[in-house]
Amino acid sequence: MTWLKPSWQSVLAVLLCLVAFALGAMSKPEVAALAEPTATVAYPYMGAKALIIGLLLIAALVSMVTLTPIVEATVLFVGAHAAAWLLIKGIAGFEGTALAPYFLLLAAAWLLAWRCVALLSSLRPSESVARNALRLIIPAIFGAWILIIWEAVTRGAGIPFILLPPPSAIGARIANSLPILGSDVRQTIFKAVLIGYIAGNLAGFAVAILADRVPFLRRGLLPIGNMVSALPIIGVAPIMVMWFGFDWPSKAAVVIIMTFFPMLVNTVAGLAASGHMERDLMRTYASGYWPTLLKLRLPAAMPFIFNALKINSTLALIGAIVAEFFGTPVVGMGFRISTEVGRMNIDMVWAEIAVAALAGSVFYGVVALIERAVTFWHPSVRGG
């Protein structure tokens, strides 16, 4: 049986298709139509039902035959996504009427996509172009299926819009509200987050160097810094609004408070990270404080400093958005979230969340890329 090698995903997918076929009606209108064969009742999947089941069955069965992994993955990819697309397209206009076979077929398509990703992850292509493409394709399929299942379940089961809007509605909302989202991003990210982030990190770094240079500061400042880090941001934000006004400076102040301490602690730890032997070496060169700092201790501290920069990139976003809940001009991501949730415009809230997630990822990614360039020598980066 060398020509046959079934995977558990495809076998299970075939079983699900057969059960879905045996159960019959995909939706409540279809049940009604079947009950009254004479009446003309419109129902979803009039012609597409056989096509969906057929697509899934063919993809599942073909994948059981021994093929090269790339062909098998392509068949599964096409079958699973075509079926999912037909399922989502067909339910339009009949939201909330889906019955068990709808979800069974969705599960079958998902299993085939799972098998497809599993196959792709096991590929070890020799060309670097193919390797890079795979590094993108695998998470893309993964992410796409989170959206597909989200979309299909919210629409099929008719989940109330207030609880969880389907991703297509959020996407449409983003597309229609670009100017508002743009001005919110400018206010929150480019003013409060970036300025606060830069100022907070620089302050943390400078104080760390100061504490390193002046022993009494190290003894006195670090415990107080510890206390600052324990400050509840929710409590501080209104005070910062009182001090620095409604516009972005008060939000930047919150971000500074949030980012200061991780940078301080990490830099202090990083400055202690260089080895005894290396420091003795600098001593044999009669190297002073500043040359030793610049040539040995700061480069050795870079992995720690970048750790703080990465932690702070997410903290800064959280700080700025939460701070806007406590008073702001009529613009800003936090302001938008807090007002639109009150106006039941949940899709707008989700749109802001999506934009915030995207901005946060880009921010983190840029910091991580710079880190790779700066700490290329560290075993965790060079992989040795």
Binding site: G275, M277, E278, D280, L281, M282, R283, T284, Y285, A286, S287, P291, K295, L296, P299, M302, T375, F376, W377, H378, P379, R382, G384
Partner: protein, 263 residues
């Protein structure tokens, strides 16, 4: 000794006591030693005999608590500030973010030499340790033996007359070690530097040295100083000659007399 070259290191009644949580530990006691210019002196003994501590006192990385020591006629601190010596550690201690070339340049940058001067010295010292062609490599791209050679180049780069080496080849395998010993002897012969070399290998000490200082622990002290009768040019196979074996036997006797083989 027929001639008396000027003393590079001279210690008398040198002692060092570390204060630890378990009470004072006498790392060095009553060390009398004079090292002349151009000598190759090995310090040998079991761990804890104070041989590394003695080297660190010469380098002003530790302070003696009693007795007197001078390096080039100065206190060790003055000598260190004048960059009187190059120090080679047990590990290469190269900075991983610098290429081999920039690692060798490190002391030159601190001293403040011009770019041209730096480039010239880097080229010369890397050639001296047979690392020409590896300038642009990072330390982690080289083998352990090459890394240690780069660290020797770094210690040689600023032209100190005294080279202090603390078990520099201890972490390397015997084949690499033989090779580096040969190269080190060659380098010593060509540059006429004074070398203080800490080791715990009897053949290594006998092969390299003009004088072998045998040390013993509890308290760390010098038990014997052996003048080598071997010629200055030493091929590796000198280690099979009766003369070599006789000196090795004396070193072993010295270690035994200091109870180095007890417990």
């Amino acid at each position: 000794m027929t001639e008396h070259p000027p003393a590079v290191v001279s210690a008398s009644k040198l002692g060092l006591t570390f204060q630890t949580n378990d009470g004072p530990v006498q790392a060095l006691s009553n060390v009398d030693l004079t090292i002349g210019k151009g000598e190759f002196v090995s310090f040998i003994g079991p761990s804890g005999c104070g041989k590394t501590t003695l080297l660190r006192v010469i380098a002003d990385l530790e302070k003696a608590t009693s007795g007197a020591i001078s390096v080039n006629g100065m206190t060790p601190e003055q000598a260190r500030e004048k960059r009187a010596y190059g120090y080679v550690f047990q590990a290469a201690a190269l900075f991983p973010w610098r290429t081999i070339e920039r690692n060798v340049a490190l002391p030159l940058e601190i001293i403040g030499l011009s770019q041209a001067e730096q480039a010239e010295r880097i080229k010369r010292t890397l050639e001296l340790v047979n690392l020409a062609g590896f300038e642009k490599k990072y330390p982690w791209q080289l083998s352990g033996g090459m890394q240690q050679r780069a660290s020797i180049a770094r210690a040689l780069a600023f032209d100190a007359d005294l080279l202090l080496m603390d078990e520099p080849f201890g972490a390397l395998d015997e084949i690499v070690r033989d090779h580096l010993n040969e190269q080190l002897l060659d380098l010593w012969d060509r540059t006429n530097k004074t070398i203080c070399f800490v080791t715990h290998s009897i053949p290594e000490a006998v092969y390299l040295s003009t004088r072998i200082v045998v040390m013993s622990p509890r308290p760390g002290r010098v038990t014997d100083i052996i003048e080598s009768t071997l010629p200055r040019k030493r091929p590796l196979d000198i280690r099979e000659t009766p003369e070599f074996l006789a000196i090795a036997a004396r070193v072993r006797d010295g270690l035994r007399a200091g109870h180095s083989y007890d417990d």
